[in-house]
Assembly symmetry: C2
Homo-oligomer: 76 residues x 2
């Protein structure tokens, strides 16, 4: 089975990488880019029957820093 | 309007970061993790009416390195 974990910085946490992308897009002539946030996506190839709870545990312990990041699990 | 761009390494391109995550999960006792690929997700807040073509152009020129990465655009 396959799962996808999306990890994004929480609202209010400064995202310098996203800010740099926003600035670069503007400098390249792409108008109307009002905001950019950059996050991670982690695709996991897992043994069949792995529960979403188990994946949540992976997120809490390794994949996301839950102090500043939120995560979302998607089974695909 | 809001768009989300997913950027992943193409198949066959070595992903040391994903490999490190896979190894770490195994070492932490999470069995059955057969593969991990790590990519980026970029959330764009755009002026209404920005076309998907225009977003594709942003990907081609800045957001993805199309030699080694593939991208997928999602309007949300």
């Amino acid at each position: 089975m396959k799962a996808r974990v999306h990890v994004m910085l929480k609202d209010g946490v400064l995202d310098p990488q996203g800010e740099a992308v926003r600035h670069a897009l503007g400098a390249m002539g792409f108008d109307g880019v009002e905001g950019v946030r950059q996050g991670k996506v982690i695709e996991l190839e897992l043994a069949d029957g792995t529960t979403e709870d188990r994946i949540g545990e992976m997120c809490e312990r390794l994949l996301a820093n839950t102090v500043i990041e939120s995560y979302r699990i998607e089974i695909v």
